[in-house]
């Protein structure tokens, strides 16, 4: 079992290395043929981002664009792309990981490659993902924000120095950080039968303290706001491989609603990638309906909130009946409620009453 996981991870890495090397050869041969090097990649401009009803996520359309080094506007990002490809391959070769921010800093001091800011380097990394149709995690590049996971799940590491080492995710009461090591780990076994995703750290800690994982037989995941891609990919894996239903629990406001939606349908920014969306996942609260039903303490919607709700209402991902109903009600009520609002009924109310209600209803 363990050998297989490591071998699979090795195979993935070798494939990625090969893809990077092929990119290098392509460019190398073009120069040798006295040609200005160029590559074709899928366009990521908004008019080429399409919502796929079947996949229930955004995907890139068929339009390809040519990145041509003969073009004065392209040559700098082109050089940066090749450098970033080289940098990624060095990471893979030396079995190191890096963060988006580190990539930005690593280019410092590389004359003429240097990025203006992290936005620029993030963008080049997305270009590389698009060019090779692989998520940046395959290149061992991870975002900084890290979310956490807790529950009865045994994993086996594949990262250097830990190959074959196993751990149960209940070993740390604060949860285990979802970083490169966990993302590349193999899932060995679990007794849980569902995944409970929570937007906020404080609520996650409360649930661990209240032993919600035992009560609901669930794996708890805390997204720390918008779920990072590695977290979304873990949610997807638990759902697909482990056949576990996923329930998402966020603040009752447009921003919470959208956190749930990105987990379910993915984001436009990642339209070039698959395996990040979990279309079966369910958003269980806090709904506008809950605000009324549980008579939760509320705050007024701001102008920004209302504007955002109106945008969401038009978004193709929000076509479903539940979404339309809740958005309308938020606007009608003119209020929002945070997860913490349940504290008005005592600290254990949420675990004793609200969650069982909602899970039953889902």
């Amino acid at each position: 079992m363990s050998g297989k996981a490591v071998r699979e991870a090795d195979r993935q890495r070798e494939m990625t290395e090969l893809a990077l090397k092929q990119l290098g050869s392509l460019v190398y041969e073009q120069i040798r043929a006295r040609e200005f090097p160029w590559i074709m990649i899928q366009s990521r401009s908004t008019d080429n981002i399409i919502y796929d009803q079947e996949l229930k996520q955004y995907i890139l359309g068929d339009r390809l664009i040519r990145r041509h080094s003969r073009n004065i506007a392209h040559i700098r990002p082109f050089a940066q792309l090749i450098w970033t490809a080289w940098f990624s391959r060095e990471l893979l070769r030396h079995r190191k990981t890096s963060t988006l921010r580190e990539v930005y800093y690593s280019a410092r001091g590389q004359r003429d490659i240097e990025f203006k800011d992290q936005d620029e380097s993030d963008n080049i990394i997305t270009d590389l993902e698009t060019a090779l149709s692989r998520p940046r995690e395959d290149f061992n590049i991870y975002p900084e924000e890290r979310s956490a996971i807790f529950g009865d799940l045994t994993i086996e590491y594949t990262v250097p120095g830990y190959e074959g080492k196993r751990m149960n995710l209940t070993e740390h009461p604060d949860g285990v950080m979802i970083g490169p090591a966990l993302t590349s780990a193999e899932f060995i076994e679990t007794s849980a039968d569902k995944v409970l995703v929570i937007e906020k750290g404080a609520m996650f800690t409360r649930l661990v303290e209240e032993r919600a994982h035992e009560k609901f037989n669930a794996i708890l995941i805390h997204t720390a706001g918008q779920a990072p891609r590695s977290t979304r990919s873990i949610i997807q894996r638990l759902n697909q491989l482990g056949k576990m239903p996923v329930y998402i629990f966020t603040d009752g406001d447009p921003w919470g609603v959208h956190i749930a939606m990105v987990i379910i349908s993915g984001s436009a920014n990642a339209a070039h990638l698959r395996g990040l969306a979990t279309p079966d996942a369910k958003w269980i609260g806090v709904w506008a309906t809950d605000i009324v039903k549980y008579r939760l303490p509320t705050e007024k919607l701001t102008d920004m909130d209302i504007k955002r709700l109106k945008e969401l209402k038009k978004d193709p991902r929000y076509g479903g009946e539940l979404w339309q109903r809740e958005i309308d009600l938020f606007i009608k009520l003119g209020v929002k409620a945070e997860l913490e609002a349940f504290s008005r009924y005592g600290l254990t109310y949420i675990v004793d009453k609200y969650l069982p209600d909602k899970l039953e209803g889902a």
Binding site: K21, G24, I82, D112
Partner: protein, 529 residues
């Protein structure tokens, strides 16, 4: 009540009392004016002789001021290789105001027989020292030491010596003492010499200043502008008094002959037609004209439209080639800079012929020397005008009549504009002779000359802008292609970095093309229109 006393004063006396109007208002201005007057006389003399001027100018401190700030006594010496002055005229030329050789209608720097003499007068009243003049017209050398009898406007010769002239020297040396302030006038004197060198690239000027510093303005060519010819006056350029004198002294037997003999471009037909419109019988002997007839004639001449245009051969413009040459050398321009000169066709105002010439320079050489914005050089009859710039019609033409942004000139574009107006009568606005009045004809010619140049400048600038953009574009390839080559080789596990020179050459060809096109911009050539 005291009885009024009536008296007349001599011209010398007049200038002695009113020296500020001739440019001798204070010690610093006086030193500058002295240099200017003597230098102009020397240049006039060389041009009259038609030899490239070789001028040596020296200012030496004679008496330092007594410790504190203030005027000092300097000795001024100038040597030239001009015509020289015939022995018998030397004392009068330098010892009598309103005496000179330039009362004819022909362009020269000096006009009234005033400048040199008043300089000597000023030296005398501030130091009580005589002037020394040595001159030769190629024979023996005459040396004079003299002073001016101010009250009677007469020279007083103190010493006269005749020397042998073995080397056949020709020219004039003037040496005098005067009160001045060199530290205050230094910049203006330098500027004056430099701008003179600009419009006289055929002159060689050496200047040793009181601090012992040597300034050399070397000649760039032996070529000189064609000399002006003396011409008869144009009927429109004559006033009542001049006409009265002409009538009084003529030998012509009747008015028709008078008109034909004393005025330029008047033949039989024109003479008769004109006298008829003035209702004066062509057969009238000139001596019989009354004062009212003379006034009538002057008025009629102003209205008469059939005279020829005034003859410009009495003018001596610098010429496009020489003007360009002078500016190029004094501003250290290179062939890559923009430089162009034009000479407008002769034109007239109030019966006086005039010609406008202008030159324009722009480019990196100027930027490197700190030029920023428009620097204006004004000249009248080859004399640099250094004061009261903003009162001058040339300034007005440059700053009010031209919309520089249409020519791609921004406020900090390094740009030199030089304008030369030459005429037998320069329309000075004041006795100070430092700025020109707004004569509409003159203003129009100046404006047109500048527009003509600016159109070419615009081409140059727009090409430079394109060129710079092209360079920037190329430098982008030079920067990034090596990186792409290096990292693609590393990524592909190749030892050798692929050669990018063919690619650079492919884009580099464009640059040569642009450079070739930019070189097509004309350098120092005019259009002659």
């Amino acid at each position: 009540m005291a009885e009024a006393s009536y008296q007349s004063i001599s011209p010398s006396d007049f200038f002695y009392r009113n020296r500020e109007i001739a440019g001798f208002s204070n010690p610093s201005r006086a030193l500058y004016s002295a240099v200017r007057e003597l230098l102009e006389n020397s240049l006039d003399a060389c041009e009259a002789r038609r030899v490239p001027p070789d001028i040596y100018l020296r200012i030496r401190e004679v008496l330092p001021s007594k410790g504190e700030e203030g005027p000092e006594v300097y000795s001024l010496r100038i040597e030239d290789n001009g015509t020289g002055i015939p022995d018998e005229y030397i004392p009068l030329c330098f010892g009598k105001v309103f005496y000179g050789s330039k009362y004819i209608l022909r362009q020269s720097r000096g006009t009234f027989g005033l400048g040199g003499t008043i300089t000597i007068l000023y030296g005398q009243i501030t130091t009580h020292k005589p002037v020394r003049v040595a001159s030769s017209i190629g024979k023996e050398i005459h040396e004079y030491e003299m002073m001016i009898d101010i009250e009677h406007n007469e020279p007083i010769v103190l010493r006269h010596e005749v020397h042998e002239n073995k080397k056949g020297w020709r020219g004039t040396i003037v040496e005098l003492q005067l009160e001045g302030d060199y530290s205050r006038s230094m910049n203006k004197i330098y500027e004056y010499l430099k701008q003179t060198a600009m419009v006289c690239p055929y002159a060689d000027i050496t200047f040793v200043d009181p601090k012992g510093r040597l300034y050399r303005f070397e000649r760039a060519t032996d070529q000189m502008p064609p000399p002006p010819r003396a011409v008869k006056p144009h009927p429109k350029g004559v006033d009542v008094e001049t006409l009265r004198r002409m009538v009084a002294s003529t030998r012509a037997r009747n008015m028709k002959a008078f008109m034909m003999e004393h005025f330029q471009g008047v033949g039989e037909v024109t003479a008769e037609r004109f006298l008829n419109t003035a209702s004066i019988d062509p057969r009238t002997p000139p001596g019989e004209l009354g004062p009212e007839d003379i006034v009538k004639l002057v008025r009629a001449a102003n209205d008469f439209e059939e005279f020829n245009r005034p003859d410009p051969s009495c003018l001596s413009p610098i010429g496009e080639e020489l003007l360009g040459m002078g500016i190029k050398k004094e501003l250290n321009l290179t062939d890559a800079d923009f430089l162009m000169a034009v000479q407008r066709r002769p034109s007239t105002y109030l019966g006086f012929p005039f010609i406008v010439e202008a030159a324009m320079a722009h480019g990196r050489s100027l930027a490197r020397q700190g030029f920023s914005g428009i620097t204006l050089y004004r000249f009248a009859n080859k004399i640099p005008l250094l004061f009261d710039e903003s009162s001058c019609v040339i300034w007005k033409a440059v700053n009010r009549n031209i919309n520089w942004s249409t020519y791609l000139v921004s406020p900090d574009t390094p740009l030199v504009v030089a304008v030369h107006v030459c005429s037998t009568k320069i329309p000075y606005k004041s006795v100070g002779k430092e700025f020109l009045a707004d004569q509409p004809e003159v203003e129009r010619e100046i404006t047109n000359a500048i527009r003509q140049l600016a159109r070419h400048l615009r081409l140059y600038i727009s090409r430079s802008i394109r060129m710079a953009r092209e360079r920037r574009r190329l430098s982008v390839f030079e920067r990034f292609l090596p990186k792409i080559a290096e990292f693609s080789a590393k990524l592909a596990d190749k030892e050798e970095i692929p050669d990018i020179t063919p690619l650079l050459r492919a884009v580099g060809a464009d640059l040569e093309e642009v450079e070739r096109r930019i070189k097509e911009v004309p350098q120092v050539v005019g259009e002659g229109c």
